[in-house]
């Protein structure tokens, strides 16, 4: 069983992960989850209960926009794409994460 990231930690970073994922191009919800799980070697599991509310919230904030289109298997799927606002949000969140991670590492990995 892979290590399951605690929800609390995921909450803050899920938005950033979604944004990062969509930076690579439009994807539907399942594909986003799958991408995050695969890319993190399944060390991050994205729960549906968090993913979809996050997508709707981010769409409301104007970071994402959605459109119904075709999935790679030819089925109709709701595709999310990054907006310009979303892109700058990603930059901001990445920077914040870098700072945060550096700070945490400094403490946790101190000898």
């Amino acid at each position: 069983m892979p290590f399951k990231t605690p929800n609390a930690l995921l909450h803050g970073t899920l938005d950033a992960l979604i944004l990062k994922t969509l930076a690579g191009g439009p994807r539907h919800g399942y594909a986003i989850a799958k991408f995050i799980e695969d890319a993190s070697d399944e060390s991050v599991i994205v729960e549906e209960g968090s993913l979809y509310p996050a997508l709707y919230r981010m769409e409301r904030r104007g970071w994402l926009e959605a459109e119904w289109g075709e999935s790679e298997l030819g089925r109709r799927a709701k595709l999310y794409r990054l907006t310009r606002d979303g892109r700058s949000q990603l930059t901001a969140e990445t920077a914040a994460w870098r700072q945060f991670a550096a700070g945490v590492s400094k403490i946790l990995l101190a000898q």
Binding site: H28, G29, Y30, A33, K34, E47, E48, G49, Y52, P53, Y56, R57, E59, R60, E65, A66, E67, W68, S71, R75, R76, A77, K78
Partner: protein
């Protein structure tokens, strides 16, 4: 934005969308597990288990989606509004002429309305500026069947002791004082004398010190309360004045408090120049002998106890007055009393009617402004029909275009409203010098405030909807094809009909207002031609106080003082004659006294007849040019020691002495003395009638008594100039008075001519104002008529061309145009006259010497309209006659 807009528009309902999305997700997950070798059914169960409460998830998503949709709709709407406004501003800037005319028209209408609203707001809508004003009432006797009659001081004390409906009652009477300025000349101070609970009844809180209380009363009360304005102006807002002794008018007073500047109570006859700067304490009488019950000069206010209705208070007071009449029939019989709301007594019927009249008139003018702007907009909408058609062909919905047109109207209205507010503020700033003194009581203030501003905004909005709907409606009737092919006639037929209707109603309103203005102008003319009965030229008049409640006010002292004043004023260069009197021709005042004819069976005082009582010097009647009809006038030989005499006028003879020998008859008439007492006087002469008011319904009887035999606290000094204007004598006369007694400055300084024109100031104010608005309405109506005609001639150019080509003469074409005009003007005029006939009675209260349905006025109003209509028609008619058939066809 565009893309998300489109995806938003093309989306399926949110509910289903979330379902689809989640279903897709579940399918994909299941497929993933199946590919890993899990049994399909088990795989699906695993996925569902992983998701947990699917319906909650769905709810969360739908919820978020809904919020987003709402926000998007708002953003989109705001965006469209911004676009509309930007577009409207651009459109308006492209036609500056139209914008200028439309906004000016609106600004005029809204400005005039805002000023009249301020007047109506202060007088009709707002409560009086006192705490809990609903409990404030006036207690009064009936005078000629109306409430408002003055109250006797002893009755006042009885009322306050015997009634039980009031927390307190208080009396007020006009007072006066003076203060010697730095230049050594005394300045008169308008003041009120009030009883101790006056400020408590009204709920006035002093800004410094205190107001009166019951312990302040004494043999000669020496405390005063000052108004804030006076305190600032004359004492530099010095707080240490409170508690200090100051000399006012030859008497020393202690200033005990300052009341806020906004506080004034103006009740009938309680102020000398509209407002009071100082309040002195009025003692309640301790002597309750019958003699003290004669003079009636107080106005009484009271505050109802909580929970007591005005009707209950009314019957309470009525029964007290009844009881007094039974106990003391000699003095109180027939003196019924009543309670009325303070508001009704402060804001009198005349003011209320005037405010309503003016508000109604400016409201009509605003409607006409609306009609004109609507006309302009309609013409524009017609001219722009092609533009709208193109926009609609490009995918703009009908609602979108209507919104655009309405936005343009709104932007126009906002401009007009803004300018109108500025204009209204200007009117209100100038108003105090335009509104006749005394029309608006000093208790209320008329000014530009936030309420007026809100009114302007609302007026602009309503106006925008009124005039904006018609072009918007017209736009909705356009079909793209019609507009693109520019088949003008069919497109605009409906619009033209509407514009004709607008013109007809404008004409109707103009005629209606012209009739009203005509009635008021005729009233003014009638009033100004009324003969006062005086044949005097211009005289200078002023009120001088020869005595008062203080010391040195016995008849001998007062007489000596009046004589000293007279001798000194006679020495002033430029003065040819001097007289003393009391009421003046057209002065608006009338003092009455009870009398009975000596030798007739005695009557109770309450049953005696009443006559005007004039205290005059021998020179008074000749100086005012009042003709002597019989006997002799008063002479210098009629002194305090000689037999008491009097002169009466024609009305006195007609009413009371019919069939008797007038000369030699003796009448016992109450003299102005304290305590009041009747003095028998022999009638030595009869003089012509004098009027106190131009609109007197019937002549009033007068008795003229020599001042030497009855000098009183105040007298009116009348000065005749040797040449030139009377007003120029003012400084000299004032200085002469100050040389005799600098503590007794003259008040109410007027020339006789000014008094006469003050007497007609209110009718003149109404007539001039309404005539101005009627003129404006006429102008607006003519612009409307002109617009309709010019437009129809333009539209029918080809038709006229055909007619002319087929041999129609210029006269035929002229006939067509004039016929068209006559129908519009005729219908409008008939409607307007019908309206005027229907509403004539509502101005009856303002009329004098003219019937509400005066045919001359109505006919003149019609004639004025027709004459101006001819001017308005001339240009379009000539244009029609001069149509060149060739040109007419080439244009098509």
């Amino acid at each position: 934005m565009k893309r998300s807009l489109r995806s938003w528009l093309w989306r399926v309902p949110l509910d289903q969308e979330v379902d689809d999305e989640l279903a897709f997700h579940i399918d994909m997950r299941t497929r993933e597990l199946v590919e890993k070798g899990v049994d399909p059914r088990i795989a699906r169960e695993m996925v569902l288990a992983r998701i947990g409460d699917a319906s909650r998830l769905k709810r969360t998503c739908v919820d978020l989606g809904r919020k987003r949709e709402r926000e998007m709709r708002l953003t989109r709407w705001l965006e469209e509004c911004r676009e509309d406004v930007r577009f409207a501003v651009r459109q308006l800037r492209q036609s500056p002429g139209f914008t200028l005319v439309a906004t000016t028209t609106l600004a005029l209408g809204i400005g005039a309305n805002s000023a009249m609203f301020a007047l109506a707001d202060a007088t009709l809508m707002r409560p009086l500026p006192f705490p809990e004003p609903d409990g404030l009432v006036v207690l009064s006797e009936f005078w000629q069947g109306q409430p408002g009659g003055a109250v006797n001081p002893v009755d006042f004390v009885d009322w306050s002791e015997r009634t039980h409906s009031f927390t307190a009652i208080a009396a007020v009477v006009r007072g006066g004082g003076s203060l010697v300025g730095d230049d050594g000349v005394a300045e008169p101070i308008p003041a009120q004398a009030v009883t101790s609970r006056f400020f408590d009844v009204l709920g006035v809180t002093p800004i410094a010190g205190r107001t009166f209380r019951e312990g302040d009363e004494g043999p000669t009360p020496d405390v005063v309360v000052l108004s804030e304005g006076f305190w600032r102006r004359r004492f530099g807002a010095d707080p240490s004045i409170v508690g200090r002794s100051t000399r006012f008018g030859g008497q020393t007073f202690t200033v005990i408090g300052i009341v806020p500047a906004g506080f004034q109570l103006e009740l009938l006859g309680t102020t000398s120049e509209g407002s009071s700067l100082m309040w002195t304490l009025l003692n309640s009488p301790t002597d309750r002998s019958p003699a003290q019950r004669y003079p009636h000069y107080l106005q009484v206010i009271g505050r109802l106890k909580p929970g007591v209705t005005i009707d209950a208070a009314r019957s309470d007071l009525a029964s007290v007055a009844d009881a007094l009449a039974r106990e003391m029939p000699g003095t109180n019989k027939g003196h019924a009393a009543t309670v009325s709301p303070l508001r009704d007594r402060v804001i009198r019927g005349e003011l209320r009617l005037t405010a309503m009249l003016l508000l109604g008139v400016v409201g009509l003018v605003l409607l006409m402004c609306c009609a004109n702007v609507a006309n302009l907009l309609l013409a524009r909408a017609t001219a722009r029909s092609r533009e709208f058609a193109i926009r609609s062909a490009l995918g703009a919905g009908r609602r979108r275009i209507v919104r655009q047109v309405l936005t343009e109207s709104l932007v126009l209205a906002m401009l007009g409203g803004l300018l109108g507010a500025v204009f209204g503020a200007g009117i209100l700033k100038a108003a105090p010098s335009l509104i006749p003194t005394g029309l608006i009581p000093s208790t209320v203030t008329v000014g530009f405030d936030s309420r007026v501003l809100i009114f302007c905004a609302l007026a602009a909005l309503v106006v925008a909807i009124l005039y904006g709907l018609s072009p918007a409606w017209q736009v909705t009737r356009l079909s793209a094809v019609q507009a693109m092919t520019n088949d003008g006639r069919s497109v605009t037929a409906a619009g033209a009909g509407f514009r004709r209707a607008l013109a007809v109603s404008q004409v109707a309103i103009a005629v209606f207002l012209l009739c009203g203005a005509g009635l008021l102008l005729r009233t003014l003319l009638a009033l100004e031609s009324v003969d006062s009965g005086s044949r005097a030229g211009d005289l200078l008049t002023m009120i001088v106080a020869g005595g008062g409640p203080g010391p040195d006010s016995d008849p001998e002292s007062m007489w000596r003082r009046y004589e000293a004043f007279r001798r000194e004023v006679e020495q002033v260069p430029g003065v040819s004659a001097v007289a003393w009197g009391s009421a003046l021709p057209f002065g608006g005042l009338w003092f009455g006294q009870n009398f009975e004819i000596v030798g007739d069976p005695p009557r109770l005082p309450a049953d005696r007849d009443m006559s005007g009582y004039q205290i005059v010097s021998p020179s008074y009647l000749p100086l005012l040019g009042v003709a002597l009809l019989e006997g002799r006038g008063l002479s210098a030989a009629d002194t305090a020691g000689s037999p008491e005499v009097c002169v009466v006028d024609e009305e006195f003879v007609r009413r009371f002495l019919r069939g008797r020998t007038v000369l030699g008859t003796r009448i016992a008439i109450n003299a102005m003395v304290l305590p009041p007492r009747a003095i028998a006087r022999e009638i030595v002469g009869v003089v012509a009638q004098v009027k106190e008011r131009p609109d007197e319904p019937q002549p009033q009887p007068h008795v003229y008594v020599p001042i030497a035999q009855n000098p009183w606290w105040t007298a009116t000094l009348i000065v005749q100039p040797a040449d030139g204007r009377a007003e120029a004598l003012t400084p000299g006369v004032r200085a002469a008075l100050a040389r005799v007694d600098r503590d007794r400055p003259a008040t109410v300084i007027r020339t006789l001519t000014a008094l006469g024109s003050e007497a007609t100031a209110r009718p003149r104010f109404r007539a001039v104002l309404i005539a101005t608005f009627a003129g404006l309405a006429l102008l607006l109506a003519m612009v409307g008529v002109f617009g309709v005609l010019a437009y129809s001639v333009q539209q029918r150019t080809r038709e006229f061309g055909v007619r002319i080509a087929l041999g129609a003469s210029g006269r035929n074409v002229l006939g067509l145009v004039v016929g068209n005009a006559a129908r519009v003007v005729g219908t409008g005029a008939a409607l307007g006259l019908a309206l005027a006939l229907a509403f004539a009675q509502s101005v009856a209260a303002f009329l004098f010497g003219v019937q509400p349905r005066d045919p001359v006025t109505f006919a003149s109003a019609g004639a004025v309209l027709v004459l101006t209509a001819i001017v308005a028609c001339a240009v379009p008619a000539l244009r029609a006659v001069r149509i060149d058939p060739v040109e007419a066809f080439r244009n098509e």
